[in-house]
């Protein structure tokens, strides 16, 4: 982020110019500081790790809290804050940041959760050997996420978006050399990377419609975008980006595999923050892209993912995979909320984004604490931990009840609002499927808590890791607080809606259809809990039956197919045979040269076989003809003589004859250079031959006929290409150098020398670089050999 510091210093220098500007600049600087703190931490993290295993975690906590407080205080003191710095003005791209209710809400989630997770990591990661890169990538992610949220320019937003993908990839693949880990990282990168490409295309199309990369202009151009011919492709690309990032069907398959990453990564990136980036985009771009098509595409996918994730969460037995499927399901709920495109839907989506970050973060921290304490991660082998881990049990209970949507916890309010929004939509299937999704959530959330902490004791003797329980407990308490005092955040959420709209759910206001839906889903949940083991067995049977048609299967077939095709292509083209390479090369170059000639515009070919001397016949041209014929003879000898020494001497002879030809073609400089180069080359060749044990060249009779045929083809082809172009060459460019002013300007009379030194100096620099590089490469080559 040296960029930011560069801009910051530029801002400070500019500040005194105008007092009013100066005030605004100070405020903007604070926003830049909030954004750069995580990056600063990322850079320092490897050094901090040397001071002690827990130090980076504590400093990360400090950085997160500081960013969190700066955002909060800035909002409290200034309201909306804008930073506009020129970045690439020629392309209309600015380094623009915006602090508004929407970006504040997501920014507080990103920094607040980040701070807690860093505090948790201080203990959790203390005994891990990958702690160094862990903190670096986590800091990088926190900054990228904050940047993506605050960005006020499409290109800037896209860059931060890609940076979150990249840091997620690095964090999933932390355990280098572990196949599970690298496979999962690759899967996440390919799928979310695909989303990234889709997003870039969507943004470029958006900018081409609106005529600007400025986010505010784009957000204000809704009618223009929807009416344009590019609307459908924009929407579809945008939806692909959102689905891939926020793990929605059919791109959800990367998220369960990503659970191989350490638990803090799962809690932060893969439940609270990164997977919410897609949801953030939905919230952000809703005003621009909303139409009937928006609902038609997003709502079935969102609700479908909600139910699919819920079923998978019941089927799963690994603690973290249960939570991963639950996250997929809850992200489906969030996507559906925004898909409805109503005020209530958006409000429910924003509130549930916060609630979900809190409760799912807490559940992941609980899962991490349990795995840390017991060393086990199969829910069937664990149980009755309430006495051994009382604080963790309380945190888990609060978070699980919030997830299940039980009053008075936060999850209840946002789920009720979601139910009400589906009811309002007027579609019959939306509330029905919503209730089913809610019932599934109720069942697995309760099972997660009761199985781990209630009932008979299973698993070994454990000691509760207090440092891991406390962050979880903080989040659990927050889930309760958000349920009782929703007013803490609903003001902010209302601010993020259309102007004048208010979203204020409360435990005291009951909406009858939503309450009935809640009761129905709780009833369904209890039914599932009663026959939980049977349900899981049934789901496992269904999954086995469907194993041939899953998205995972398609992904595996695609990746396997690409790798197989790549291997086959490499084996076919890179088979280690230099003869094969040269054949391919000659044929390709030949085709490239001959193709433009196909419509022969009466160009003279070999039909007229009268060979003419260049220029009018004179002593000089006759001498030239003799030299050229001799040169060909030497070239043939170099290509066919059996003794290496003879072949090399023939090559040298050809070179010296070329120098003579240069002389006769009025190029004395070339002749001199050619002689010098030829001498050097001869010496090098002779040294190599002297050092080589094998000096005779074996004949290769089998191939000779085909090689001759190829050579003949090249002879004809080159003649056909060169002959017309030689006749029509336009040498008027050279007139510039032959003008009378040359001597006055350069002080030289040898035009070729003047071109080399005065006009084309960079060519000479490049030429020297090539020689230096060749020397360096040879030096490395021989030194490696000597070491053996």
């Amino acid at each position: 982020m040296p960029l930011i510091y560069l801009y910051a210093s530029r801002l400070l220098l500019r500040a005194p110019n105008s007092l009013v500007d100066g005030m605004a600049v100070d405020v903007g600087l604070w926003l830049l500081i909030a954004l750069s703190l995580p990056f600063l931490f990322a850079i320092l993290a490897p050094i901090l790790g040397r001071l002690g295993p827990r130090v980076p975690g504590w400093v990360g906590l400090g950085a997160g809290v500081a960013s969190f407080l700066i955002l909060l205080v800035l909002w409290g003191a200034e309201g909306e804050v804008r930073v506009d710095l020129p970045w690439i003005p020629s392309a209309g791209i600015a380094f623009a940041l915006r602090l508004n209710p929407l970006s504040l809400l997501f920014g507080l989630i990103a920094t607040g959760m980040g701070a807690l997770i860093f505090g948790y990591s201080a203990s959790y990661m203390a005994r891990e050997r990958v702690a160094g890169p862990f903190y670096l990538y986590m800091g990088l992610f926190m900054g990228a996420m904050l940047g993506l949220i605050l960005a006020g320019d499409l290109i800037l937003l896209f860059l931060f978006w890609e940076l979150t993908t990249l840091s997620s990839f690095l964090l999933i693949g932390l355990e280098k050399g572990e196949k599970r880990s690298t496979d999962a990282a690759l899967k996440a990168l390919l799928l979310t990377g695909l989303g990234g490409i889709a997003l870039l295309l969507a943004f470029l199309a958006l900018a081409s419609v609106v005529g600007s990369f400025d986010l505010e202009l784009v957000l204000g151009a809704g009618d223009q975008v929807v009416a344009s011919g590019l609307y459908v492709p924009i929407l579809l690309l945008f939806v692909v980006a959102v689905l891939a990032k926020s793990a929605q069907f059919p791109f959800h398959i990367w998220l369960p595999d990503a659970m191989v990453a350490p638990t803090p990564v799962s809690a932060y990136l893969h439940s609270a923050a990164m997977v919410k980036a897609g949801i953030f985009l939905l919230a952000l771009f809703l005003p621009v892209l909303v139409s009937d098509l928006w609902i038609l595409v997003l709502l079935p996918l969102g609700i479908g993912t909600m139910i699919l994730g819920g079923l998978q969460a019941i089927r799963a037995t690994d603690l973290k995979r249960i939570l991963a499927y639950s996250t997929i399901s809850q992200l489906g709920l969030l996507a559906s909320s925004f898909a409805l495109a109503t005020v209530l839907g958006q409000g429910a989506g924003l509130l549930h984004t916060l609630n979900h970050a809190v409760m799912k973060g807490a559940l992941f921290l609980v899962a991490g604490a349990v795995i840390y304490a017991t060393g086990m991660n199969d829910i069937r082998e664990l149980g009755g931990l309430r006495r051994a881990m009382p604080l963790t049990a309380i945190a888990c209970g609060l978070a699980a009840l919030s997830l299940a949507g039980v009053p008075p916890l936060g999850g209840f309010l946002s789920k009720e609002a979601f139910f009400e929004a589906t009811w309002e939509s007027g579609l019959l299937w939306a509330p029905i499927l919503g209730v089913i999704g809610g019932g599934l959530t109720f069942a697995y959330a309760w099972n997660f808590f009761s199985r781990l902490f209630l009932g008979p004791r299973r698993g070994g003797v454990v000691v509760e890791p207090k440092a891991l329980a406390i962050p979880a407990l903080i989040l659990g308490a927050l889930a309760l607080t958000l349920g009782i005092f929703p007013g803490l955040v609903t003001g902010l959420i209302s601010g993020a809606l259309s102007p004048g709209e208010v979203f204020a759910p409360s435990l005291l206001q009951w909406n009858v259809p939503a309450a009935i839906m809640s009761l129905l889903s709780a009833f369904l949940g209890l039914l599932l809990i009663w026959r939980y083991a049977d349900t899981r067995a049934l789901l496992q049977r269904i999954a086995r039956g469907l194993r041939r048609v899953t998205p995972n299967r398609a992904y595996g077939a695609f990746v396997g197919g690409v790798q197989g095709a790549g291997q086959r292509m490499a084996l076919a083209t890179q088979n280690g045979s230099l003869r094969r390479y040269s054949l391919v090369l000659f044929i390709a170059v030949g085709a490239a040269l001959l193709l433009p000639l196909i419509p022969l515009q009466g160009a003279p070919l070999l039909i007229d076989t009268v060979v003419t001397l260049p220029g009018p016949a004179s002593l000089r041209t006759v001498a030239l003809a003799i030299v050229l014929v001799a040169m060909i003879v030497f070239a043939v000898l170099a290509a066919v003589l059996r003794t290496t020494l003879h072949a090399v001497l023939s090559l040298s002879g050809m070179g010296f004859l070329l120098a003579m030809a240069f002389m006769l073609l009025n190029a004395p400089d070339l002749a001199m250079t050619q002689v010098l180069v030829e001498l050097v080359l001869l010496v090098i060749f002779l040294i190599v031959i002297y050092k080589l044990p094998l000096r005779a060249i074996k004949p290769s009779p089998r191939r000779r006929a085909s090689d001759l045929l190829l050579a003949l083809g090249i002879l004809i082809g080159i003649t056909a290409v060169v002959n017309p172009s030689l006749a029509t060459f336009d040498s008027s460019v050279a007139e510039f150098y032959l003008g009378p002013d040359l001597v006055n300007e350069t002080g030289g009379t040898n035009v070729v020398n003047v071109i080399i030194t005065d006009f084309r100096g960079f060519d000479t620099l490049g030429e020297i670089s090539v020689i230096a590089l060749a020397a360096l490469a040879l030096y490395t080559l021989f030194r490696r050999r000597r070491r053996g």
């Binding site: 003869r579 003809a625 070179g655 180069v677 003649t719 070729v752 020689i771």
Partner: protein, 109 residues
């Protein structure tokens, strides 16, 4: 009508290709060197005109100086390429104990 220059250029290219197609490593380097010469000769032929070297104040029509300047650079680069290829061939021949590129096991994946 086909100029002698064109035939010489085409012949040089053909000979270079034939030498490169030969399986001997040193012969391939020789072929590369011939190819470099062929290209240089092609460029100078393109600018073939006039009857004196391009000096300011020379009596007569000067030859095209631009192509000459281009070739001047190309000759030296050709030397670098040939020298590097030769070094590569030398190391491979010593390590593989054969001059035939088809025997070079290390090139095969």
């Amino acid at each position: 009508m086909v100029s002698l220059l064109v035939l010489v250029i085409a012949a040089l290219f053909a000979i270079a290709a034939y030498a490169i197609r030969h399986g001997n490593a040193i012969r391939m380097v020789i072929g590369l060197s011939i190819l470099a010469n062929a290209v240089n000769f092609l460029i100078i032929s393109v600018g073939f005109k006039g009857d004196v070297a391009p000096f300011v104040g020379a009596a007569g029509t000067p030859a095209d100086p631009l192509v000459q300047a281009l070739i001047l650079t190309a000759i030296v680069i050709g030397l670098g390429v040939t020298a590097f290829a030769l070094g590569l061939a030398y190391v491979l021949i010593r390590e593989e104990e054969s001059t035939e590129v088809e025997d070079f096991r290390r090139l095969k994946g």
